[in-house]
């Protein structure tokens, strides 16, 4: 009996050790007040090595504030943050060496050329073989042909890429990107996402975004944050599965489908029918149990011609809006 307890203990200790080692970002109870305004409220989260974590939230949610604390730009009011094994408050300089940061405002020295700028940043980072590394990074952001352009003459998207290049220069273990694809055209958005995906696996990436499809496309894990609090945290797929609750089924019939709403409402398990347009409906069903055969029967028996019947998960978009709405409602209820 004793032996088992000792053994269990040993295993447990080992696990925590591994957990710590793989945790590139570890945040506990992080709180920031600007005067009396609470910007972030006891945030706790982590990011493992090689993970791409998305920080998703509406304007003013506290994304930039959190990132600024993680990068050592400003201190927190309370709480603890460890990045790449270094405490960002007590061991700030060492932590900063291991972080690449693209601030939301993409600060650049516009009077410098792209090369001069990266050279300056590389010198501050004390890069060995600076020229080679700058060339490498410029290639990875597709800016090689603009090395000598003044930054003031670059488009928004190109500036974004120069900012990204700057964050990558010193091969940081942790990359913190504040809205990396904002202001880019679709082709560039795809490029940058591709680049970020390539970086993940090797480096830990934390990015913020308003765009849900983006989080869905590139992140291993999503943190949904609103008003300084984490509302949900999971992989995009599981978030969708967990939060959609019931099933949603799409139905399409030939013609305008007059009277179909009533018929569908009579099917047991259906909780709501949303007409989308003539002959197209979306049906919410209670969780558990597959009601598609029942719906098909109801449609066919009622004399409509069934064109299409498909299961639809809730999109991340809807989950996000729902979470934010729920939170607001809760607050109202509390205030009332």
């Amino acid at each position: 009996m004793k032996a088992i307890a000792v053994c269990a203990c040993y295993v447990k200790k080992n696990l925590t050790d591994n957990f710590k080692k793989d945790n590139m970002i570890q945040v506990e109870g992080l709180t920031k007040r600007y005067g009396s305004r609470l910007a972030i409220d006891h945030l706790t989260f982590h990011a493992d090595k090689g993970e791409i974590v998305g920080f998703l939230g509406p304007n003013g949610a506290g994304k930039t504030t959190t990132m600024r604390i993680l990068t050592g730009y400003m201190p927190a009011s309370e709480g603890k943050a460890i990045v790449a094994g270094r405490d960002v408050f007590t061991d700030s300089l060492e932590a900063r060496k291991r972080i690449g940061y693209l601030p939301e405002t993409v600060p650049l020295y516009t009077e410098m050329s792209v090369w001069q700028y990266l050279d300056f940043m590389g010198e501050l980072r004390q890069l060995p073989n600076r020229d080679d590394r700058i060339e490498e990074v410029m290639e990875s952001v597709h800016m090689t042909d603009r090395a000598d352009s003044l930054i003031s003459n670059l488009s928004k998207g190109m500036r974004q890429r120069v900012g990204l290049a700057q964050a990558l220069l010193h091969k940081p273990e942790v990359l913190i990107l504040d809205e990396p694809t904002i202001g880019l055209d679709p082709a560039q958005v795809r490029d940058v996402r591709e680049l970020i995906r390539e970086l993940g696996g090797e480096r830990t990436v934390m990015l913020s975004t308003h765009i849900l499809s983006e989080a869905q496309a590139i992140c291993n894990r999503v943190l949904i944050i609103n008003k300084g609090k984490i509302l949900a945290e999971d992989t995009p797929d599981r978030l969708r599965a967990r939060l959609s609750g019931g099933d949603r089924v799409g139905v399409k019939v030939m013609g305008d489908g007059a009277g179909l709403t009533e018929a569908l409402n009579k099917v047991p398990g259906v909780t709501a029918v949303h007409p989308i347009k003539d002959g197209e409906y979306e049906i919410d069903a209670a969780p558990g149990g597959n009601i598609r055969p029942e719906i098909a029967k109801a449609v066919v028996n009622g004399g409509w011609n069934l064109m299409e019947l498909k299961a639809m998960g809730m999109s991340l978009e809807e989950i996000y809006l729902q979470l934010v709405r729920e939170e607001a409602e809760e607050e109202e209820a509390q205030n009332a």
Binding site: T71, Y73, M74, P75, E94, R96, P103, P107, L124, Q126
Partner: protein
């Protein structure tokens, strides 16, 4: 230390691509040239021997007006353009940033000062100036420029606005100048050995230059004074930059 040099280099190079710095340099040097011609002409007509101190004396006053313009953008621009976020999240300490900014400006100031040696060359060509005054004057001016620029760096650290930065720079520099001037008035009105006059003259820049360096005297008191002004103002500027993080 290496970071200080990185920052200093960037600032120094920036002066040579900045139109404002050029405007300042041109205006500064032309006013100095006019004063030189006028003074030398004057002394020569009275049969005296022109000295380099005729250039160095007015130069100290000119510096009061030009230095805050040279330093205004050093830290103010980083704040208004958001690039301070870049620097403060790089592995760079605040003092390295502040000292680097000052060093870059000082090196440019020394370049301006170097151009005034042309007047020494002219004097040597046509007369017999006191070599001691030339060397001591250059040393004193190098220190004085350093001190005024350090005050400018401090002014630039407290605001993100260029105009405010210049105004604060002038406020400091002129306050110091007025304190010295008031001391002189006291001395004239109430006689030589007034404590107030001694104290105010100690605070003022001019007394540490015109009475010693510009007469060919190198006094450690003056060197200590200028180095202290530089150290204290840069220390304060560092604290201001550090405090920015807490906003």
């Amino acid at each position: 230390m290496r970071n200080t040099w990185t920052i200093a280099k960037r600032e120094f190079v920036h002066y040579f691509v900045s139109p404002i710095a050029y405007a300042v340099a041109v205006l500064f040097l032309s006013i100095l040239g006019l004063l030189f011609v006028a003074n030398v002409n004057n002394v020569a007509q009275q049969g005296g021997s022109p000295s380099i101190s005729f250039v160095f004396g007015p130069l100290t006053t000119l510096l009061l007006f030009f230095a805050p313009v040279l330093t205004m953008r050093l830290l103010a621009d980083e704040q208004s353009k958001g690039t301070l976020e870049l620097l403060l999240t790089a592995p760079l300490q605040e003092w390295e940033l502040v000292v680097g900014k000052w060093l870059g400006a000082w090196l440019f100031g020394l370049c301006l000062l170097a151009t005034t040696t042309i007047y020494a060359v002219i004097l040597y060509a046509y007369g017999n100036p006191d070599t001691g005054v030339v060397y001591a004057g250059l040393l004193g001016l190098a220190l004085l420029i350093g001190a005024i620029l350090a005050i400018g760096v401090f002014a630039s650290s407290v605001t993100g606005n260029l105009i405010a930065s210049v105004a604060i720079g002038y406020a400091f520099v002129l306050t110091i100048w007025i304190i010295g001037f008031a001391g002189q008035v006291v001395r004239v009105l109430f006689g030589g050995n007034q404590v107030i006059a001694t104290v105010t003259e100690y605070i003022d820049f001019a007394g540490h230059f015109s009475n010693t360096f510009n007469r060919g005297i190198i006094d450690t008191t003056d060197i200590v004074y200028f180095v202290s002004v530089i150290a204290i103002t840069l220390f304060l500027a560092t604290r201001v930059v550090e405090a920015r993080r807490w906003r």
